[in-house]
């Protein structure tokens, strides 16, 4: 019973904040000043630097490479073969110094000498083979399992039916200690991007035998290691310290205290109270933080899109109707009014943090109420009810309510309403193609390339393809972009062309690219967002 109160408690919380503010104003006018001063953290003396980072418990659960959630903590503990530069999204070397392929299908990866795990053992080609085999083993049930499906031999280990007929990926070959040859199922120019994910990090010898205990007591190869070797189920603070023999750019902070929150809503309260140095915020907390600490917030562009997806299996939503609805939405008003500016109105599919993204490729994304009405009339108008859907989330519901109102007033559709379902239920109904109206949904990219988002959202059978969109021309253009392109630049061009082609049909109406913010205390610098939004721990500095 208590659970059903939870969404309500948010609005009540705002009431509580207002009451508290009023109390504080009447009681003690001059107390606000010393909040900032407290935000130096409770770091130890003697020249040691430390900082406290607040984060939801979700980020500190499983550190086996195949079980990671690719968060900034995973990137601090692991260094994969390649890396993506924080902030710019550029691909660079990690453990590997070179990667090359003649046909984009068989890749030769050369490792740098001198890399070691946190226990001092060397990182070799075999370490990667062990890791990828462990992740591809179905019985280990790791989240990253499906990401191994690009490698030859995955099917044998993960048959759609029946028992696995292999225990190792046949596409992996150790040429020598520092050379790894990877054969993929199909040519893929984006392979160097894919292996930048911590899911593809190496495993030390023998670790695959007990992945469950390794998950909480990991021996990584990244710039930071766990001070106490790991963490337990109920730990509230987990400490990271620099790995002294790290072969890459060394870490700068002597100790990072990961403070774990079950309920993320108290993270910002604790930052205000001065007990945290760094936290990733969004929504109302971010808007408040920008007012309270304007100099201490670093913008984060999430590699994601919030959009309205039209059910492709519903004949009522012709391309013309979809374009009309898209044009009737005032994206700027939503971003400024409801998100306090913490978003960017979408002008295409992907934001510019993704390679190939940020281009204006969506004609119907420009707000044009008259054009929208004219387009709707030309398409024969709209009869009857129109229900919009989303999953239960305060921000989603607020946005969808605005979208509903804009459709009503700009298109004159009186019978338009919206409905918020529990997230599992919504995705089940997407799968069963029983959603009978446009849906507000979120799509995130797994790696920083336009392809990642476009493939997941628009190719048939993909999990984020909630619309059921299936366009052969698009799918074959996407396929040839990664299998037949001569270089990554070429791939990017071809994927862009494919996305332009799809968006001309408006299978989805991109709305905006979400933004978060990293709020930090005055003593912390070098705050640069990692791909998924958290701060890149290796770049942090404390003065």
């Amino acid at each position: 019973m208590t659970l059903s109160r939870r969404p309500r408690s948010r609005s009540l919380r705002m009431l509580a904040v207002a009451m508290a503010a009023a109390l504080a104003l009447s009681a003690c006018g001059g107390d606000d000043g010393d909040n900032d001063g407290d935000n130096d953290g409770d770091g130890g003396g003697g020249g040691d630097t430390s900082l406290v980072l607040g984060l939801p418990s979700f980020f500190v659960t499983n550190f086996a490479p195949g079980g990671t959630g690719s968060s900034n903590i995973d990137y601090a503990v692991w260094t994969p073969l390649t890396t993506i530069e924080a902030g710019t999204g550029e691909l660079g070397p990690g453990v590997a110094e070179e990667w090359a392929s003649e046909d984009q299908q068989t890749w030769t990866v050369t490792l740098q000498d001198g890399w070691t795990f946190h226990d001092g053992s060397p990182v070799t080609a075999q370490s990667f083979v062990d890791s990828w085999n462990a992740t591809a083993t179905a019985a280990n049930a790791l989240n990253g399992n499906a990401q191994m499906n690009i490698i030859e031999g995955y099917e044998e280990m993960n048959p759609a039916k029946g028992e696995p007929s292999a225990t190792e990926l046949s596409g992996l070959e150790v040429v020598d200690e520092l050379t790894l040859e990877v054969t993929l199922n199909a040519p893929n120019t984006l392979f160097p991007y894919l292996i930048a994910n911590p899911v593809f990090a190496p495993l030390p010898e023998g670790a695959a035998d007990d992945l469950k205990s390794f998950a909480t007591n990991p021996i990584g190869n990244g710039p930071y290691m766990f001070r106490d070797g790991g963490f337990g189920a109920g730990d509230q603070d987990v400490y990271l310290v620099p790995y002294e023999d790290y072969a890459g750019t060394p870490a700068n902070v002597d100790e990072i205290d990961l403070r774990i929150y079950q309920d993320p809503s108290s993270i910002y309260t604790d930052f205000q109270a001065g007990s945290l140095d760094l936290a990733l915020l969004d929504g109302d907390n971010l808007a408040t933080a920008k007012q309270e600490y304007p100099e201490q917030v670093v913008d984060v562009s999430f590699p994601a899109l919030i959009y309205l997806g039209f059910p492709a299996y519903d004949d009522r939503f012709t391309p013309e109707i979809r374009q009309a609805i898209s044009m009737a939405i005032d994206r700027e008003a939503i971003v400024d009014g409801l998100l306090q500016g913490n978003g960017t109105p979408a002008t295409g599919l992907a934001p510019d943090v993704l390679e190939g993204g940020g281009e204006a490729a969506c004609a119907s994304c420009t707000f044009d109420p008259d054009g929208a009405k004219a387009a709707l009339d030309a398409a024969g108008g709209w009869d009857g009810d129109l229900v919009l859907y989303t999953y239960q989330d305060p921000t989603n519901e607020r946005i969808l309510e605005a979208v509903t109102n804009q459709i009503r007033s700009n298109l004159g559709i009186e019978g338009v309403t919206f409905e918020a379902l529990p997230i599992e239920q919504l995705y089940e109904r997407f799968g069963a193609q029983s959603i009978d109206g446009p849906s507000l949904a979120y799509a995130g990219a797994a790696f920083p390339h336009l392809y990642a988002l476009a493939d997941q959202m628009l190719n048939p059978g993909q999990l984020l393809n909630v619309t059921g969109y299936d366009n052969e021309e698009f799918t074959s253009a996407m396929e040839s972009a990664v299998t037949e392109a001569s270089s990554i630049e070429d791939t990017t061009e071809q994927v862009r062309a494919a996305v332009d082609l799809a968006l001309a049909d408006a299978p989805v109406a991109p709305l905006f690219w979400p933004r978060g913010g990293l709020v930090h205390s005055e003593s912390v610098s070098g705050v640069v967002p990692e791909f998924l939004g958290g701060a890149r721990l290796a770049l942090l500095e404390v003065s």
Binding site: T2, M19, D31, N145, A160, G234, Q262, D263, A273, Y427
Partner: protein
């Protein structure tokens, strides 16, 4: 006395079976796919992984078979393994001391303040203090306690900075005062009203007249005769409240980031992590029953009119 305890414990067996089965069946009936819940709604799960997980957690077996696996596990002291591979026992082991400490702190606060306010109000019935207590408890009943929690957190924790705004890393008592105070507020009105009513009723009882006639001092009458009998219903309420407080208060533990049982349970429900929900709920059933038994024993000791053996 011993006989009473044995009979009560035996009587609990069908109760435990029934309660755990209802909890188990309820979790089993939750909509949604637990494997999908572990991976998140948008992650890709290969069919082979799904098959491996289904087999590991017996997800394809009928309800009764799954319950049997679970029950035999509990009898061996094994609460099962959660869907992320962490033994539920580990989760509980980390969480229960926190919930116990928080619950006892809240309970002590509630008992002292509640019984104290009730007693004084009853002795000064109709006076300004009585009215003040009535007013205060009415306000407490009217304001949802999570609103109180957020206000305390922001005023005391952030604005004034007297106590930590969340977490338990400063230990007892500093870190526990705020959440315990919020929890204590939950039972305070009922407790003080009950104490007040019970004392007022007993003040007019025959045995009080007898004691007065015998010339006993008013303080002795209050403590030894009135309070002792008046506390019987109060102890029942306090006992039940103890069960509630120790089994974890979901919202308060969440708001103050206290890693106790209530929050572990809430996370379990949110992640559709069946083994966690069932394991912790089962534990809560045990706590509740144990405390009930304790309350019955204490009530018997307090009130000579209750005979443990005959009424048991």
């Amino acid at each position: 006395m011993l006989l009473f305890v044995v009979r009560r414990v035996l009587g609990m067996v069908p109760l435990v079976l029934g309660a755990t089965f209802v909890i188990f069946a309820a979790v089993y009936a939750l909509p949604g796919d637990p494997i999908r819940a572990i991976a998140g709604p948008t992650a890709e799960i290969s069919p082979a992984t799904r098959a491996a997980l289904t087999e590991e957690y017996h997800l394809d077996e009928p309800l009764l078979v799954q319950y049997w696996y679970y029950l035999t596990g509990v009898l061996r002291g094994d609460l099962g393994v959660d869907l992320r591979g962490v033994p539920v026992y580990d989760l509980v082991e980390a969480a229960w001391p926190v919930s116990l400490l928080l619950g006892l702190t809240a309970w002590a606060l509630m008992a002292v303040v509640g019984v104290g306010l009730g007693t004084v109000a009853a002795m000064r019935r109709g006076g300004a203090f009585d009215w003040a207590v009535l007013g205060l408890t009415t306000v407490i009943v009217g304001v949802p306690y999570f609103v109180v929690a957020y206000v305390l957190q922001i005023v005391v924790g952030v604005q004034l900075g007297w106590l930590p705004s969340s977490g338990i890393r400063e230990g007892w008592p500093t870190s526990y005062v705020l959440p315990a105070a919020c929890l204590a507020l939950f039972g305070l009105p009922e407790l003080s009203r009950l104490t007040r009513a019970s004392i007022i009723e007993n003040r007019q009882a025959d045995f009080v007249d007898t004691a007065t006639a015998k010339g006993l001092a008013p303080r002795v009458i209050l403590v030894r005769h009135i309070l002792r009998t008046s506390l019987v219903p109060v102890v029942s309420v306090l006992g039940l409240a103890l069960g509630f407080l120790m089994s974890g208060a979901i919202l308060v533990e969440g708001i103050f980031n206290v890693p106790g049982l209530g929050f572990t349970l809430f996370n379990g429900i949110r992640q559709q992590n069946g083994p966690v929900v069932v394991g912790i709920s089962t534990l809560m059933v045990f706590i509740f029953l144990a405390i009930n038994l304790l309350v019955d024993i204490v009530c018997g000791l307090l009130d000579p009119r209750i005979s443990l053996v005959r009424d048991g």
